[in-house]
Each structure stands twice: as C-alpha cells, then as structure tokens.
C-alpha cells in the first residue's frame, strides 16, 4: 500500500475533509509530494512503512501551507521562472541542431532532464526550505540543463542568476536534494557544474 492509498482510505473512511493533492499516480505530475517521517517523498510511489503502527505525515517544507497537506507552490515556481526555464534558440539558424546521443553534452544533460517539479528537493534543502533567499536546487538543475545545451542562447542570463545573491553560493552542500529526488536526479552536481561554469564564462 502506498502513502497515497492510505490518504485516500482516510478520506473515504475517516475524514472526508482531509486536504491533499494528487493526479497521475505514476510519478510524472509531481503534485503529491509530502513528508513521510520527515523525508520528502511522492505519496504515490512510497510504500507505507510496515515496521510500525504510526507514521508522521507533514506538508512540503518551505512553502506556505494552504490546508492539511496542500501547500502553495507559487514561491517554488517563482524561483523556477528566474532561470528562464525554457530553451532560447540562437537567431538566424537555418539548419536543425545536431546533438549526438554519445556526445558529452548529451550525457551531461540527460542525467538531469527528468525533473517533474515536485519540490521534494526544495523541501529537503536546509537553505531553500529555511525561507532564505535561494533559487533552490530544482531551478538551478534546470539552469544547468540549459546552460550545458549548445543550442541555447541565454546561458549568460542564467549564469547571472546562478551567480547572483540567491544563486549557487547559497548552497552549503547539505545534499538533501540529491538524496530525496524521486527521479534520481543529482541537483547538487548541477550546482557544482554551475559554480565551475561561471568561472569559465
């Protein structure tokens, strides 16, 4: 039984008013994030621990709670928007770009591409969730994906954000982000890459 099944059972049988979010149930939408015994997880993918009678469920850390396990994700997406999270193509291109599957660029990007925006990393970051001024692991991971992409023309503005007051220097390598990512991404590695990239630029 997954944690989401548990919540649905509670809603059906005990408290119809309990508030929580879910949608896809297959770890793609990133809406059912919560904290199980302190750890940020996707409710739809996390089994209920069988070794004890009670578990502790909390809403995502670092975001305003609207009700029960429902949080306002607007601050998370505001940080996400700061890094221009979409590809900005070079002007005047007439031929399609070619990035071969075995290239270093492809290998670097592929490992960080599957972010679903669930905010588990944000919740487990001692700096971002501590309500301090920090862009956060998810946004910086997205910035790294685009900075490393040779087709993109906005690397400098992203690196300016990464180099700014709430950028990569706020990371203290707590590694909460990489430890909890339900998609197995390594945002801490992306942050290290951005720290080096700004030196190169």
């Amino acid at each position: 039984m997954m944690v989401l099944d548990l919540l649905l059972a509670i809603q059906r049988e005990h408290d119809a008013c309990i508030g929580f979010r879910f949608s896809c149930r297959v770890a793609m939408c990133g809406t059912c994030t919560l904290r199980l015994d302190g750890r940020s997880v996707l409710a739809c993918q996390t089994p209920v621990p069988q070794d004890r009678d009670t578990v502790r469920l909390d809403p995502v850390a670092g975001l305003p709670v609207l009700r029960d396990l429902v949080v306002d994700t607007a601050p998370f997406w505001r940080e996400w928007a700061k890094v221009t999270p979409y590809l900005v193509p070079h002007d005047g291109l007439t031929e399609p770009a070619v990035v071969t599957p075995d290239s270093d660029e492809r290998r670097l990007i592929d490992a960080s591409l599957d972010c679903i925006g669930c905010a588990a990393c944000y919740s487990s970051c001692a700096v971002a969730a501590g309500s301090r001024d920090f862009v956060g692991p998810a946004a910086l991971n997205r910035a790294m994906v685009l900075v490393a992409d040779s087709r993109d023309a906005a690397a400098e503005q992203r690196l300016a954000v990464a180099d700014g007051a709430g950028g990569v220097d706020r990371c203290h390598y707590v590694y909460g982000c990489s430890a909890v990512c339900p998609k197995g991404l390594d945002p801490a590695a992306a942050i290290r890459y951005l720290r080096k990239s700004r030196l190169k630029s």
Binding site: G38, S124, A126, H172, Y173, R192
Partner: protein
C-alpha cells in the same frame, strides 16, 4: 575575585548565553525543514539506508553554523581580553589567570572541538567544490572530519586538562 575578573566572567556568560540562544534558534527553525531538528527521526533515517545517510550532511550544516557563531562570539571577547595588555600588563595577568581554572579549561576543550570541526568541515566543503565530489564521497569525507575532530579533541583535551587532573 577581582572586579576585572568579575567583568570578564559577566561578558563570558553573555557570550555563552548568546551561543546557546543561537543554537536554539538554528535547531528550532530546522524543525520546519526536512528531518531537521528532530534528532530521533534523523538517527532512524540515517540507519535506514545508504541514501538516508545524507542526513549527516544536514546535521554537519547545523553544527557548522553553531560552531562558527560560537567561535566568532568568543573571538570578540578574546580580542578585548588580550588587548588589556595594552592598558595594563597586571590587569591582563589578572584576567588571564581565569583561563587556568578548571571550569575555563573545560570550556577550552569545547572551544577546541568547535574549532577543529569548523576548520575541517570548511575544508571538506572546499574539497567538494575543488574535486567535484558527489554525495557518497562527501559523506566519506564527513566521516573523516568527525574522526579527526574526535582524535584532535581527545588529544588536545588531555593537554588542556592535564594540569588540573
């Protein structure tokens, strides 16, 4: 006890209370964050799986902040008490006689632990950047930091406490 010693101990008490207060603020605010501030939960999580041992890095972050504040707060006081020599060497000797008392030597042991941990953990964080270390390697280094801190603290404490034991 002379008046100068009384003033020093008063200021020292303020420093200790400030450090305790700062530690409380760090740990209470950490309760809002994933696993932070809940010692029992953190220990259970660290015992659960290899990946959960990243919690140790979180506690290193809290310990780094608290030890850093403690070192800085004491340094502020220490700059003042050392500069007493410029005012009067006898006043300096009078105040510094306190450093040889048993309670102050115990405090010096705690200060040594804080300095060792803060220095070594700072070097670990530099190494993460310079050598591009991932989660596993970083945690191994943290184990080394903890081990070296214990060794240095035990050896240093033996020297510091030697004259009063």
């Amino acid at each position: 006890m002379s008046a100068a010693q009384g003033v020093f101990l008063g200021a020292f008490t303020v420093v200790v209370l400030a450090v305790v207060g700062f530690a409380a603020v760090v740990l209470v605010s950490a309760r809002r964050i994933d696993g932070g501030g809940f010692v029992g939960v953190a220990l259970r999580r660290m015992a659960r799986s290899r990946r959960e041992r990243a919690e140790a890095a979180r506690w290193a972050f809290y310990a780094h902040r608290i030890s850093g504040f403690g070192i800085f707060a004491f340094l502020c006081l220490h700059v003042v008490d050392v500069s007493l020599y410029a005012v009067s060497p006898s006043l300096y000797d009078d105040v510094h006689a306190l450093y040889g008392t048993a309670p102050m030597r115990v405090f010096e042991c705690a200060l040594l632990v804080a300095i060792c941990f803060h220095t070594l953990n700072g070097l670990r964080l530099l190494a993460v950047d310079v050598a591009d270390l991932g989660l596993t390697a970083s945690l191994r280094l943290l184990g080394g930091v903890a081990s070296l801190t214990v060794v240095a603290a035990v050896a240093g404490s033996a020297v510091i406490l030697g004259p009063v034991t």
